[in-house]
């Protein structure tokens, strides 16, 4: 388990050991959706907004 700062509110966000680059996490403090930019060392950024052509 590692920790990174939420880019929205600055609170600490826990990252599990199996976290993947490209995964989306929720900040437990402000609820922002965050994208994992790097796992080691952990780096987070605000996740992209939903776009019209997203889906399956």
């Amino acid at each position: 388990m590692s920790e990174a700062d939420c880019p929205e509110c600055g609170a600490g966000v826990d990252l599990h050991d199996d976290v993947e680059v490209g995964e989306i996490l929720d900040c437990g403090t402000c609820g922002a959706e965050l994208e994992v930019l790097a796992a080691e060392p952990p780096e987070l950024d605000t996740a992209p907004e939903l776009e019209e052509d997203w889906g399956e």
Partner: protein, 293 residues
């Protein structure tokens, strides 16, 4: 094998796949399509020595172009760009199913508000208006009246993208509060589930309740035909029961080419990611016989 994964977001589905691939000691090249360029002679992504690439792009437009370019470089890619092209567009999807003799909801395409209104009136109320490209039940409209139709068409007319001026009008199928999602590899079902809701949209993405479902011979046949109709691959085939639950009569309303399976994996006893990776290994070996297991 060495496998590339096209992605821009790692969902639980991709994580299930990645974990299964790593458990089997496959080499993985994660390709974030946002970070690369795709040229006529090659790409900045490291694809040259890949045995196979699997498209898991969340964005349909990126999926369509990235697979087309990967295919151009001679690297095996699933699903194929041809399959993606048909599945990504509901109109092409309907045409492919109809051409293959697979029952599918009656559909009309119109290009102006007036002709769309005529199409709606020809179906009567309720009927359904869908975007030709879209997923997760977004921008789907069940039209219950003439006044609702006029309002929805006016709204669509002023939406930005030209695709909103392609009006895809469909008969409303009175399904029994659920539809059926089948995950299939080249027409062979991996597992199936029902998606139930009090809402007319039963998509799992819309919060529909899921439960495992046993396919009968008719459904098995339709899944195989539907898969063949779009060129095969790893697909989510969606069926509705016509005439009530367990009527044994179905209509196929959609085939998805970057299918999500986390909900399915959570409600059936089948090892879904394991079965998908079995299939990927087979495809890699067919395309590149020297690909190591």
């Amino acid at each position: 094998m060495k496998i590339g994964i096209l992605y821009s977001r790692i969902r639980q589905d991709e994580k299930l796949l990645l974990n299964e691939l790593r458990d089997r000691d496959h080499e993985i090249e994660k390709i974030d399509v946002r970070k690369h360029q795709f040229g006529l002679d090659g790409t900045t992504a490291d694809v040259d020595d890949l045995d196979i690439v699997v498209d898991r792009c969340l964005s349909t437009s990126r999926s369509l172009y990235a697979t087309r370019f990967i295919d151009h470089y001679g690297v095996p890619v699933v699903n194929s760009p041809e399959t993606a092209d048909v599945c990504a567009d509901k109109a092409k999807n309907s045409l492919a199913l109809d051409a293959a003799g697979v029952p599918t909801p009656d559909t009309k395409l119109a290009f102006t508000v007036d002709s769309a209104m005529d199409a709606i009136e020809s179906f009567g109320y309720p009927c359904v208006l869908k975007p030709v490209v879209g997923s997760w039940g977004r921008l789907m409209a069940k039209i219950d009246s003439e006044s609702a139709a006029e309002a929805i068409l006016e709204h669509k007319k002023v939406l930005g993208h030209y695709e909103h001026k392609v009006f895809y009008v469909q008969e409303f199928v009175d399904k029994p509060g659920r539809d059926i999602r089948v995950l299939a590899t080249d027409g062979e079902p991996v597992a199936a589930m029902t998606r139930s809701s009090d809402h007319w949209l039963t998509n799992a993405a819309k919060g529909g309740d899921t439960a495992g479902f046993e396919l009968d011979d008719t459904a098995l046949d339709l899944v195989e035909k539907a898969s063949d109709a779009v060129g095969g691959g790893l697909l989510g085939v969606d069926l509705m029961e016509v005439g009530g639950e367990e009527s044994g009569e179905y209509t196929v309303h959609e085939i998805n080419h970057t299918v999500e399976f986390k909900a399915l994996n959570g409600c059936v006893d089948v090892d879904v990611p394991g079965t998908v990776v079995d299939w990927l290994e087979t495809k890699a070996n067919e395309a590149t016989p020297e690909a190591t297991q």
